[in-house]
Symmetry: C3
Subunit: 212 residues, 3 copies
Amino acid sequence: LTMPTIIPPDSPALPAAFDILGIAVFALTGALSAAQMRQTFVTVAFFALMTGVGGGTLRDLLIGAPVFWVRDPFVAPVCLAVALLAWFTPVRWWQGRLLEWADALGLAVYSGFGTIKAMAWGVPPVPAMVMGVVTGCVGGIVRDVVAGQPSILMRPELYVTAGALAAAVAAAGLAMGFSPALTWAVAATVGFALRGAAIHWSLGLPAHEGAD
Amino acid sequence: LTMPTIIPPDSPALPAAFDILGIAVFALTGALSAAQMRQTFVTVAFFALMTGVGGGTLRDLLIGAPVFWVRDPFVAPVCLAVALLAWFTPVRWWQGRLLEWADALGLAVYSGFGTIKAMAWGVPPVPAMVMGVVTGCVGGIVRDVVAGQPSILMRPELYVTAGALAAAVAAAGLAMGFSPALTWAVAATVGFALRGAAIHWSLGLPAHEGAD
Amino acid sequence: LTMPTIIPPDSPALPAAFDILGIAVFALTGALSAAQMRQTFVTVAFFALMTGVGGGTLRDLLIGAPVFWVRDPFVAPVCLAVALLAWFTPVRWWQGRLLEWADALGLAVYSGFGTIKAMAWGVPPVPAMVMGVVTGCVGGIVRDVVAGQPSILMRPELYVTAGALAAAVAAAGLAMGFSPALTWAVAATVGFALRGAAIHWSLGLPAHEGAD
């Protein structure tokens, strides 16, 4: 009688615990970024949420799906809990390589997932690949732009590229008829391997030479 | 036959005159920000609109509601009229405390409203609280980011916090079964009191100590 | 059984080849902007896409239409092809006046189109005019904000103004009952003439004198 009910198409999902963990890792990078800029708790919480859910939010708006965290009772509270964790623990606890590797895993897993979800909603392969990159990278881009810092998009390190690789593999796998679960696993592995190699050997892409 | 008609759920609304007044106050802060940066009239008008409707726009996109001002024949013209007002009157007319207090009232009223509207659309309490903060604060954040200035999110003064308080009170009140109108009144009063205290006594939140 | 099918209302469309050409011109300005900032290919591709489809994306989200390029198999590939073109050709090939004039034509044509599409979806004239400005200008604004540069919105040259003129003419023409095709042609011509005059004679708008 009131709102149309949108029944989402079947698409594979992460086990709930892993899904929340992935969002929490992204949220933690946002919260720590705000803490390192010596911000207040409210700002830390805002950055946690923006970074944790930003990419998936834009993806869902673009493909016309209900925004995944708005009707979910757990995602927003977890992001706020992560903000509390970042606020009450020393920043140096989180400055080791563990967070960077967890972020790399989240990037690869969500970039693959974004593409698979988009194709389940009827999006063709190339724009679906874009949706994967958006899912994995836009949270971090918004975090950096709102903070007034050069965004991950503008740095030569292989970050967005690893997300793009995972998304491209996912789109190609589905287009070739492989199952979503297998495709997702391969896509995430390949993307994680590239991002991991970039972290380990400080790999970057060549830059354009500019206008001379 | 063509577009699905979305019948919005009942939710309390401001009397139309007050609603337009609230949007006009937000729009005026955007227009004055552009005027002080010595911009052209077109830029002043763009800032008036962005600041006046930005927060409610993002809230409506996130909860899946039709964007409130797009099909309304009055909201956009009022924002443009505010831009004309800011353009043709001396900026110092508006630099007193009155505008700051009107903005504080708008912040509290709309942060409460955003939460109440979201819960009327079926959003659970914690994400609905986020929707309230988005409604009250995102217009100002977009204004500052597009202007290339440090956003209200990055300043220690109690601004986003007052919006978050109003939104939290609204979510708690509805969750406890109080009527939307009463909840809204209490939420707006509490949020306005906190923002007013912050203006009067220059209160701020403690900042994180950073990474040492 | 699953998703509601939205049958869009009739509205005039550009012949497909011209439409793709217009998006390609916008995408090229984004790609070149990234190349001049000495960015990597992935960043060049992201900027091409953001600039090419950004304005129409926000318009479609605001009016509740399916986002035009997400289910289209050609638009995203064309933006990526433009990024390849910008990457493998010398930037100076593109620094002549031709690109600036092509961008002026795209600005006028899409600003008029955005207004006409919005009115076909039931948006009243003044917000529909805003939708036209959004369509023509937001891609460039996002490009500049993400790049950390002063946006076209903050420069005194007649750019957003020319888009606003085309949009206003389109809204007025439809409101007076002229056919969409005629209205579009007149709106685009007038907007292009103003932008062209601004390029040729370096016209700008007067700026506000600030707060003194």
